[in-house]
Symmetry: C2
Subunit: 181 residues, 2 copies
């Protein structure tokens, strides 16, 4: 069947759910959930996000030229959902949702303690693309909770990363398959 | 623990696995698997891929300015893996892997019949970004197999989309969770 064109993205799913934490020019914290995100380069390490222009996240990235990508797990589904609600600019979704800040190593914006891992990023460039803005950040520091990364690989079954399916539906991948050939 | 910067993407996973099918200037078919892919706009409908510059897929998109995004399911894991092997330019991975072509409606490049859904795309722009090239395409036609899209939503449990975890490891999301609040 034909999909309405504006709904094409519904079957490019589920996608990794992340919380982006930022500061505004006055140093006030913001955090919001996104799933239009992908790696775009290993060397240098670059990550791309597509953000709606009205989001506080984009305003903050423009003001401070940095952001933290926090990888979400099933454990914080309720808190992530609260972070997605509409709060006035300057209100910290991290505090409102009951999450806690994690001290960053390089950037000024805090991470979120209860996440699987964290990428501290500096804005590399942005490009308006249709009804969103593509933001590319350079990963300055990448960390992961010890228990979720073993022998050089992500331990999916332990980490239980949250994937966004659409609306209030999320998926948790719990089965691994490998080609036989 | 710290992640080596070039390995940051290992925990931004699993990611939707797609096969990109293209034609070269001589009309020869190519198909290759990717997971650096995300929606970037609803209106107009735009999709972004990050491609390594040496891939035939990128050369073909530059030659013909179109491509088809085929959403992969667990059913074609073996075939997708074969499509990822190195074949000479001009050899059709669709045929080599035992998949079959699907007649496109708008572009010239064929889709792949055994997939969940298909986006026929025209190249909008490309941008070199680190060691990859970001390619943004406009979705001209989007279709999905009837049985995988019900009441306006993607039926994840039926479709069994394949997510790439890393190397030969893929994940299949089979559990759905929703916030209670």
């Amino acid at each position: 069947m034909k999909l309405e064109l504006e709904n094409f993205y519904k079957i490019l799913a589920p996608r990794p759910a992340v919380l982006i934490s930022t500061l505004d020019a006055r140093g006030r914290t913001n955090a919001a959930p996104f799933s239009f995100v992908m790696p775009v380069s290993r060397t240098p390490p670059l990550i791309a996000l597509a953000l709606a222009p009205q989001r506080h996240t984009l305003a903050n990235i423009r003001e401070t030229r940095e952001f933290v990508v926090n990888i979400a797990s099933e454990e914080i589904l309720e808190e992530l959902w609260i972070c997605g609600k509409s709060f006035p600019k300057g209100v910290s979704e991290i505090k409102e949702s009951g999450l806690t800040e994690r001290k960053p190593k390089i950037v000024k914006a805090p991470g979120i303690e209860q996440c699987i891992g964290w990428f501290e990023c500096a804005l590399e460039f942005e490009k308006e693309t249709g009804d969103h803005v593509i933001v590319v950040g350079r990963v300055l520091n990448a960390e992961v909770k010890d228990e979720f990364f073993r022998e050089g690989e992500f331990d999916l079954l332990k980490a239980k990363p949250l994937m966004h399916l659409g609306g209030e539906n999320f998926a948790i991948p719990e089965r691994i398959a490998r080609p036989q050939k």
